[in-house]
Amino acid sequence: MYGGGNTFEKLKTKSVKDEDPEKLAEFEARIARGEKIEPSDWMPDLYKRQLIRMIEQHAHSEIIGALPEGTWVTRAPGFKRKLALMAKVQDEVGHGQLLYSAAETLGKSREDMIDDLISGKSKYSNIFNYPAFTWADSCFISWLVDAGAIVNQLANSKGSYGPYCRALDRICIEESFHLKYGHHCVIHMATGTPKQRQMMQEAIDRWWPPMMHFFGPSDKISAHTEILMKWKVKMASNDECRNQFLDMYVPKIWELGLTIPDPNLKKNEETRKWEYTEPDWDEFKRVINGDGPCNKERLAVRAMAEERGRWVRKALLNPKSKYVTPLA
């Protein structure tokens, strides 16, 4: 699971104009031909750094994303839901592992990435800073937040970096049941008892604003990302992804008789684009910088998992072992 909303800020890195022009041309030609870049290829500093940041954020999002749904793991109603939710949360941890591994091929160690997550230096998808108050909230997350993540993942799976694409292929295969499971849960809630319907509607009302933030700031106010598009690091604009999501899922929400708390939400039949109330981007900024309802708890939980597990890792660590960058 992954959210857009990456703010590609300037990094202290070798500027593109300082790179070897011949190598750069070869590199860009390879990408233009549609070929993947593999770890041992030459790549410009900026490409490497931006990829690490992006893949790392995606990995952190998976690990943190396991927590709101994890809230309901012990309370899932019935065998089918219990098994499915356990498998889903497990997949999220697994996807985090796959993504850290892909980022590791670029030279950053998993340890450093986890340290940066816990210290707050690295970001993760903002939507997971919100609380999952009820079972219906977990259903919303399982269906619609996953749906959003899949929109992003499908776009990025056509990107240029081999290890990231391979990780995304595997993730997409495993995620296919997440979406169906989530939708299945929401359908049951929406078509169930009045109490279930009400719970589901309230969850939608709560989660819709963060969901609209999910794909990141509107293109109008986003940082310029032309070179990242050229290098197939960023594959689609935030607004494009958001629009695709709305197109695919708003009708499915409405067909269940559920409402969406945005009176301006409608599809413009002429432009074929969805119109909506502009999300509050100040709130987005506030929350992603640490001031959201669950930020502290999410990071505390990761810190706890690390610290509580320290004695385990210490007991297993072989002092003679030497970590090297993985191959693919």
Partner: protein, 207 residues
């Protein structure tokens, strides 16, 4: 501060943040490359890595990370640093044609396992085993034995002795994999429910 997650209310999650010590650099496990064969007849293929303290643990981890879905009949793990890697060529170029390695005569003959990458973005695939006196020797032998003209982009070679491979007896650990239908999209059909709901809404009381 109470959490919505009952599991977290049974632990003092905040006390650990105070105890956070900076980690020793490289305070982590080595990586192991993982290879999986989904079915008999299909190629053994590289899937990814696991971090682990040793091969036995890496095997346990690899089994869950890379074979908890789909099918699996064979699983291999190898320490990343035990794999020797050739340079990489462009698509359509055969690395065997571009790169020849100097072989020195010495070293004991043993089995080496060879993997090929045929296209950027795809997975390395197992070609087979051959006898050689060293990695360069293995590569040169592979360029004769496993090079059938199809362009090979990248070659990995490892000593057979460095691989931890599952055995035929181990195959039973995957025998119930196909029954975990709760992990399959196909187990979540609900079109009937939606249809029924729409019908009821359609015929519902209109005031």
């Amino acid at each position: 501060m109470k959490s919505l997650d009952p599991r977290l209310n049974r632990v003092d999650i905040y006390k650990y943040q105070q105890e956070l010590k900076p980690k020793a650099s490289m305070d982590q496990f080595e990586t192991y490359e993982v290879f999986v064969r989904a079915k008999d007849g299909k190629a053994m293929q590289h899937e990814g890595i696991v971090h682990g303290p040793n091969k036995e643990m890496a095997f346990l981890f690899a089994k869950e990370q890379f074979s908890r879905r789909g099918a699996c009949v064979d699983l291999w793990v190898a320490l990343t640093s035990d794999l020797m890697v050739s340079p990489i060529s462009d698509n359509e170029e055969n690395i065997y044609d571009l790169v020849q390695l100097e072989v020195d005569d010495g070293g004991t003959t043993e089995a080496y396992e060879v993997f090929h990458l045929y296209k950027r973005g795809k997975h390395h695939q197992y070609q087979g085993s051959l006898q050689a006196k060293g990695f360069h020797d293995a590569y040169q032998n592979a360029s004769e034995v496993f090079n059938d003209g199809k362009p090979v982009l990248n070659v990995w070679v490892i000593k057979k002795a460095d691989l931890l491979c599952s055995t035929d007896e181990d195959r039973v650990i995957w025998s119930t994999l196909s029954e975990k239908t709760f992990r399959d999209a196909i187990a979540y059909k609900a079109l009937d429910k939606i249809k029924k709901f729409k019908e009821e809404q359609g015929t519902g009381n209109k005031l």
